[in-house]
Amino acid sequence: MIAIVDYGVGNLFSLCSSFNYIGKQVTVTGERAQLERADHILLPGVGAFADAAKKLRDSGLDQVLLEQAHKGKPIMGICLGMHMRFEESHEYGYHKGLGLIKGDIVPMQGRLPQELKIPHIGWNELHFKGEKHPIFRYLGEQECMYFVHSFFGVDCDENVIATTEYGIEMTAAVARGNVCGCQFHPEKSGEAGLNILRGFCDWEV
């Protein structure tokens, strides 16, 4: 069973549809017991870091996630859900993250060549780093994913498993032990994105 963490942020319709489509049972939950029972946990996220991190803390789910992460359960964060795994974020101020991934979240503003538009919206190609991570096992080479973001992860080199090129080489996916995260939206990235969700479901740590 895959548990999608419901902490009152973002729209979970597409994620649920994607897992249904690939024939995986999902439960959308904000309950400790269900997250403890799940085989895999997915942390979604859309919106602002500060608001999402507060909701996660207020619900107490941050502690549950940390416990489950330390127990070795496969956990994936998507977009903002990935950002919250980092140590800190500089999205409109300074905020502490879960610290599961080494590195920080910073704005694109001022870090990209001037002519590039912010947010980074659209399909961009993945470049795998190091040995192909198990969540990418069903992907071919030169696959594109759908990105929508204005902030990104830095100083996380040792945890980067894929990058994409947008004026600079930008973090696209990270992993550390049983925890991984994608900057892009696999649930919106066509068949290639569904293959990442399949890879995540089949990932045994």
Partner: protein
């Protein structure tokens, strides 16, 4: 490098996809769920759904169909038509839309763009604007292109982007349905004005029109079209191969 997007647009009325020429003479084309699924599996980078239904009853039907489409389409989905309030944003986002397109609703209430951007983020708010030349000036038209608002189009677009519109769909009424190519003159002016993605709409008649669009205006992010895709005149796969052959980055 980010790829150029190809976006089929589905005009939906009372639960069916229709497409007119210059917005008149609508003809029933196909089922939105079938077409959506087909495009998602055949290389479309995004789908746009416009609800052109007038009645509340039809709007309810659209909501049901939208849910069906959203649950079987795994590419970004933009929904527009009848979006007048943030409650309308909420309604379609809950049905699985990723972005919401505003047109007449923003003209009636310009604060809508800012309110929605604050609630859902800039990336969620797409400004759609129907533009036509009147005595040599680009004017904004409302009500599906039937009514001249008198507003100057470029300043309207700039104002909306400054208030939080994250993308702009520029639909040229002058070239729409004519199939003689995109309105490059109009698009160039919009590209020079804003720093958010610009989506070209209106006028695509053949593959070469897209090649010309992206070659002439590298700042344009996406090309949108309806009938040439729905009637099978242009297949998205062929179109993307041709773009690639012309050194335009696309997702294959």
């Amino acid at each position: 490098m980010i790829t150029k997007r190809i976006i089929p647009c589905l005009d939906v009325k009372n639960g069916r996809v229709v497409k007119g020429t210059n917005f008149e003479g609508l003809a029933d084309v196909s089922s939105p769920v079938e077409l959506g699924r087909y495009y998602s599996a055949h290389g479309a980078d995004e789908l746009v759904f416009y609800d052109i239904t007038a009645s509340a009853e039809g709007r309810g039907l659209f909501t049901d169909i939208l849910k069906q489409v959203a649950s079987s389409v795994f590419i970004p989905l933009t929904v527009g038509g009848g979006i007048n309030t943030v409650e309308d944003f909420d309604r379609v986002l809950k049905c699985g839309a990723d972005k919401v397109s505003v047109n007449s609703g923003a003209i009636r209430n310009p604060a809508l763009v800012e309110q929605a951007a604050r609630l859902y983020g800039d990336q969620c708010v797409v400004l759609s604007v129907d533009v036509k030349r009147v005595d040599g000036v680009f004017r904004v038209f409302a009500k599906g292109g039937r009514e001249n608002t008198g507003m100057e189009a470029l300043s309207w677009i700039k104002r909306c982007v400054d208030s939080g519109a994250g993308e702009v769909v520029v639909n040229s009424i002058d070239t729409d349905g004519v199939k003689g190519g995109f309105d490059l003159e109009m698009l160039e002016q919009v590209c020079n004005l804003v720093n958010v993605p610009v989506i070209a709409s209106g006028g695509a008649g053949c593959i070469n029109d897209f090649v010309t669009l992206f070659k002439t205006l590298p700042k344009v992010d996406a090309g949108l079209a309806a009938s040439i895709f729905h009637f099978g005149e242009v297949s998205i796969a062929d179109l993307k191969q041709e773009l690639k052959a012309n050194n335009i980055t696309v997702r294959l």
